[in-house]
Symmetry: C2
Subunit: 145 residues, 2 copies
DNA sequence: TATAAATAGGATAAAAATATCCGAAATAAG
DNA sequence: CTTATTTCGGATATTTTTATCCTATTTATA
């Protein structure tokens, strides 16, 4: 569904959000340990999120990654997915035709569009605040063990 | 969403189904031209579908690929997807945790499960017959141009 | 200002997905 | 039986994704 990069990006963002609420910046090392992802690769993804203004980075001693508290609720999963995987998932044809065009539909167009729109709606209506809260309260997890 | 291989596999299957209704076997060459896919790669995917008993191959002169007419309606998209992409799309965690486990859910588990189950339901309730018919009547297409 | 601690970012490497090539095996028809 | 045709399947190549490594740059603090 999503690329590995995107999966890591979402998990990392949730972890950063949780820590930002607690007033702590986190490093790629800590992040990758907590979400069980390759450190250097995760760092690259964080760079992309910074460039897209979804998270903040602070260089130098006592630096790290954070998200402004009052921005957390405004960051939707859709923003993260779009920043990393682009918007093929929102607009692309399910059978891989060059463009998804209602005037020249593939055989699964109408059925697929429903799923795709459902996913889009879900990603657009889910924000980092609620997800971070689920981690904080311990009802959800960012790694298997 | 699906791999290229899976997209080609679905498009090829629909094309084969349509031609099987018309009593014609088709070659990888004709298939790849009609669905706009790389020929040799498509041939490999067809082999996999044959091994999974979803389509039939006939070697030698006047051979080609076909689907028994009375099997076409019984072949669901879900069978093709499972044969090529496996069942991660049906069971896998949306955030890439090793397993999707209700007892140890990721933060998007419940929201994601709904989408995933919707996709599964769609793939399981869509068969090759209806899709081939849409191609035959010209209301849907297997390539862009 | 010097030092230590961090992220940024370019260069590479490894793995997986996508794609091509070619000879072997099978089969229909003459 | 021979020939032409066609799928099968192994080997290889290319591209994309995933992952690692190392140096430069930035910044807080002593
Ligand atoms: S044309 Fe294929 S999903 Fe719209
Ligand atoms: S645990 Fe992530 S989708 Fe179920």
């Amino acid at each position: 569904m999503f690329s590995k990069a995107c999966e890591y990006g979402i998990r990392a963002s949730i972890f950063i959000a949780k820590n930002s609420y607690e007033g702590r910046r986190v490093s790629p090392k800590e992040i990758s340990e907590e979400i069980n992802s390759p450190q250097a690769f995760t760092a690259k993804i964080l760079q992309a999120l910074v460039k897209n203004n979804l998270i903040n980075s602070v260089k130098g001693a006592y630096g790290g990654f954070e998200i402004e508290k009052d921005k957390i609720a405004a960051i939707k999963l859709s923003h993260i997915v779009k920043a990393i995987d682009g918007d093929n998932i929102y607009n692309g044809c399910g059978l891989g035709l060059e463009t998804c065009d209602e005037n020249h539909p593939c055989p699964v167009h109408y059925k697929f569009k429903e799923i795709r729109d459902g996913l889009k709606e879900m990603l657009e209506s889910t924000n980092l605040e609620e997800l971070a809260l689920d981690i904080k309260t311990g009802i959800a997890f960012l790694k298997t063990y």
